[in-house]
Symmetry: C2
Subunit: 280 residues, 2 copies
């Protein structure tokens, strides 16, 4: 079997940076905590736990004097304030692209814009972004239909969750254009997502079977699997090499492999080894 | 025959205002000039000429001490400066909606945006708007295809010629969104145009023949006639009642009448009288 590994498979810039910061920090601090899982990879979170990084959901549960890692999706403004109020040491691993969206939200809300965030309301990244808009109305819209429910406003500013599709942002912008005198858009989409998706499409076209590797709780990995599935029905979303079934590979000559933004390299390697072992 | 007259037929707010200002001014000033035709209606321009308002194309040709009317489409910033330098009296009949687009252009160019104007490059309104952008690059784009030729930029600001269609603006915005970090749009479209076009469509559906009245040099009247023609093939674009041909009306029961934004009411009345006279 030939194995085609997507160039864009695995960690994006922000995840790589957060992971490196976390491992680096374990060398300097004892008793470390992360506020929520640092990235959406159960395997990596477990590895960090072995290095002494405990995941906490609430600032109040973190012991005094400890160091806290802010995860790649960022934290809510109130959480950061509570962290500062408690004099905890902060290792801020917020993805710089997410940070930019947070900064825009803060500034635009001060400038009197109604803020529209294109994204998933419950996602920690979106929860973080909207927490920085301290004044005026804020709307989180998942798509064009939800944007249509926004009441007409004078000045609307729009930012996007970094993993949104350009098409979705564009459709929301169109709706807002018709509702306001001024529509100000910061395109905060990180193109790592679209680059990865485009490559996955090409990969699926060239393969008899596609393996998409990543946390089952990772939205971007699940979406990647959907995209491949539409082109190549023999697409499997796996978290580890142990989930691979030999019978999937009957008659397969070319295996395409890609992985979500939060999938560590060692897991990709492990899955590829499992595939190679099938031939022996 | 029934005659259905569109409610929105004729002068829009800006044209009505400019015309009133011009006639009012003739009571106060002798030796008046307008810089270009005040509106796109040869008949109204002729009437104003009879009241002593001469049309001039260049500021330099206007005699010292005279009063100058700035037409509804506005003037270029340099022209206004030359008018001021020559101490001419200014009657500024620029449509307030056009003025707003000019003001946005001036401010956005100072703030470092690349300015994109959606409109017809040669139109005096567009020529006026872009003259206010004193710094940085300016692009006039008629449609999506022209917008695609804009090189990628950090900050793009977009305004529209007031008579553009929302759909066209929206398509240009979509293209710019993909080219820039920030896209700031001022929706300077005046909805009088779309209201008039929507009503014309309904009118054409209800009529056996449509008369669209207005200057043959008026872009908005020509567009109105095209829209009606697509629905009712028996559509005629006329400037005056004298152009009406009795044979057009064979078998016609309902006549729809609409008119462009620069068509004076007395011309509409004159055309309707001509139609009624056919029945006698």
């Amino acid at each position: 079997m030939n194995i085609l590994l997507a160039k864009s498979a695995g960690f994006c810039f922000g995840v790589k940076r957060a992971t490196n910061m976390a491992f680096e920090a374990t060398k300097h601090y004892r008793g470390m905590y992360s506020l929520g899982p640092i990235i959406h990879s159960p395997q990596l979170v477990k590895k960090l736990e072995e290095e002494g990084v405990k995941v906490m959901q609430r600032v109040e549960d973190i012991p005094a004097g400890a160091a806290v890692i802010v995860r790649s999706h960022g934290a809510r403004a109130e959480e950061l304030e509570r962290i500062r109020a408690r004099n905890l040491t902060v290792v801020d691993a917020t993805c710089p692209f997410v940070k930019k969206a947070q900064d825009h939200a803060a500034k635009l809300s001060l400038e009197g814009y109604v803020l529209v965030v294109v994204g998933e309301e419950e996602h920690p990244e979106v929860q973080g972004i909207i927490s920085y808009a301290r004044q005026g109305a804020v709307f989180v819209v998942a798509d064009r239909a939800q944007a249509e429910a926004i009441p007409p406003k004078g000045k609307i500013a729009i930012v996007a969750q970094t993993t949104q599709s350009f098409e979705n942002l564009s459709q929301v912008v169109e709706v807002c254009l018709g509702k306001s005198q001024e529509t100000r858009v910061f395109n905060t989409i990180c193109d790592a997502t679209s680059v990865r998706q485009d490559e996955a499409r090409r990969l699926a076209e060239q393969s008899d079977l596609v393996l998409v590797i990543g946390g089952l709780n990772s939205a971007n990995t699940t979406r990647l699997a959907q995209i491949c599935q539409e082109i190549q029905r023999r697409t499997y979303h796996v978290e580890t090499g142990g989930q691979i079934q030999p019978e999937w590979f009957q008659g397969v000559e070319t295996v395409g492999v890609t992985a979500g933004a939060s999938t560590p390299r060692w897991i990709i390697d492990e899955v590829i080894s499992s595939v190679k072992r099938l031939e022996k």
